[in-house]
């Protein structure tokens, strides 16, 4: 293993950090050693605190916080940090707009779906017929689910929590 090997190793080691996204806490929560609600508490994290997101598993995110590393509930974390442009490239590309870091770009001249455009929309029967031609029957859908190993299960509806 020569220089190249070392370089590759270094690169691989660096990957998680490089690929890691930033996030911040939506509320106070507990950082846990493992992705379970009864796992050992590593430390408390405060609303607004920044973390680095390393990985995800089910409803949990593995993060690096100021006072330690561990797992946080996915639903306690917002992604991104104001001012950071980690994903502006991706999103600008996705939207077809070259939004410079955090700056709002006017939509004029770029096709989007603004309220005005929706208001002015004219019925397109041909496109609607096309859309309807793609319909899947219940049986077809169930078959496709089964092919992917996806199985239905009984789950109660969620109640609203104030």
């Amino acid at each position: 293993m020569g220089k190249l090997g070392v370089l590759i190793t270094l690169l691989l080691l660096a990957l998680p950090a490089w690929g890691g996204e930033s996030g911040s806490l939506l509320k106070d929560d507990t950082l846990r050693a493992e992705p379970f609600s009864d796992a050992r508490s590593v430390t408390k994290v405060k609303k607004g605190e920044s973390v680095e997101i390393l990985a995800s598993s089910g409803g949990w995110l593995q993060v690096k916080a100021k006072k330690g590393s561990g797992w946080l509930r996915l639903l306690s974390v917002r992604k991104g940090n104001a001012g950071k442009s980690s994903s502006s490239g991706l999103l600008a590309a996705a939207s077809g707009r070259s939004g410079a870091s955090g700056k709002v770009v006017a939509t004029t001249g770029i096709r989007g779906l603004s309220e005005e455009e929706l208001k002015a929309a004219q019925f397109n029967g041909a496109e609607l017929a096309k859309a309807e031609s793609y319909a899947a029957s219940r049986a077809e859908a169930a078959q496709f689910a089964a092919a992917g190993g996806v199985q239905a299960r009984a789950i109660d509806e969620l109640k609203a929590v104030k």
Binding site: L74, S101, L113, E115, A121, E127
Partner: protein, 315 residues
């Protein structure tokens, strides 16, 4: 006044056998689910109900028959309305030209919808050609998401979650109720009953007209939170991870700081942060050990994007 009289005489000429019952649909809509838009203290059901004197016959069996007839026609009518709105929306942004993608989205959507209380509605799904990040539901089961949103999705479970949210709107008839609260009821439901006849499409066109802004109308925040909860449950019932919709919300929240492709979505929905917090509170730890499929490998890529975009974008 003259046009009203004209409409009245037209409605008298219309064949009653195939007439849609707007009153019935609107009443039903008012009964299902929670509040929709703004102040819902005034009950549109009353307005819809009043002229429908025929719904109060002396004999109970007759009432039963009539009510069930109303139920079936009102779904038909809901579909007719939704179809018109869907056609209008497609006038603003056509489908992404990719048969495989569209069929795939229909299969996943139909599978998720099969876990809802309206499994046999004629559900339709589609990806529309817009860089915006948004998704729309029209009454009767017409659901579309934009290519911009599709591009953010990492796996089939996330698609299921997004579609589940929109299916929730259709199940609870959130948008139908908006229509009911606005122009239809203003015009007087009884007139519309007779106006919309035959296959209803011509009349629906007259009624709804052009435009699809209703799909982007701000619903009551409670309706959005409700659709989030339903989306999570429907997708989880369908066998997917319950945390896929939350992941998408996270991603959308992230997108919001960088581009205005979410401008309309942000204007018409509570902020993703609030939606995550509300979902977190509702989900608690109930889903912790549930598991579920993600199926990243089954999610078809979008066809090559327009020149401005990077080929690897979003993946």
């Amino acid at each position: 006044m003259r046009s009203l009289l004209f409409t009245l005489s037209l409605s008298l000429l219309a064949a009653p056998a195939v007439a849609f019952d707007f009153g019935g649909a609107l009443k039903k809509a008012a009964e299902i689910g929670t509040a929709v838009q703004g102040d819902s203290s005034q009950s549109p059901a009353t307005a819809a109900n009043a002229p429908a004197a025929g719904t109060q016959p002396a004999q109970e069996s007759t009432a039963q028959t009539l009510l069930s007839a109303f139920d079936s026609t009102s779904e038909q009518e809901e579909i007719t309305i939704g179809r018109q709105i869907a056609g209008n929306l497609l006038g603003a942004a056509p489908l992404v030209a990719d048969d495989n993608l569209q069929r795939y989205v229909n299969k996943i959507g139909r599978w998720v919808a099969s876990q809802s209380p309206r499994p046999d509605l004629a559900w339709h799904f589609g990806v529309i050609d817009s860089p915006d990040i948004n998704a729309f539901a029209a009454p009767g089961g017409f659901i579309f998401l934009t290519a911009g949103l599709y591009r953010l999705l990492k796996n089939e479970a996330e698609l299921a979650g997004v579609l589940g949210h929109e299916i929730g709107h259709v199940v609870r008839q959130h948008h139908l109720k908006i229509l009911q609260q606005s122009k239809m009821v203003d015009l007087g439901s009884r007139l519309l009953v007779k106006q919309v006849s035959g296959d209803g499409s011509a009349a629906a066109q007259k009624l709804i007209g052009s435009g699809a802004e209703v799909v982007a109308r701000s619903l009551d925040k409670g309706a959005e939170f409700e659709a989030d909860r339903l989306g999570v449950v429907y997708a989880a019932r369908a066998g997917y991870t319950p945390f896929a919709l939350p992941s998408v919300l996270q991603q959308i929240g992230h997108a919001g700081s960088d581009t205005n492709s979410v401008a309309l979505l942000f204007k018409t929905h509570p902020h993703p942060d609030d939606r995550l917090l509300k979902l977190g509170a509702a989900m608690g730890n109930r889903f912790d050990s549930m598991g579920g499929k993600e199926l990243a490998e089954r999610l078809p890529p979008l066809p090559a994007p327009a020149p401005a975009a990077t080929p690897a974008a979003g993946k």
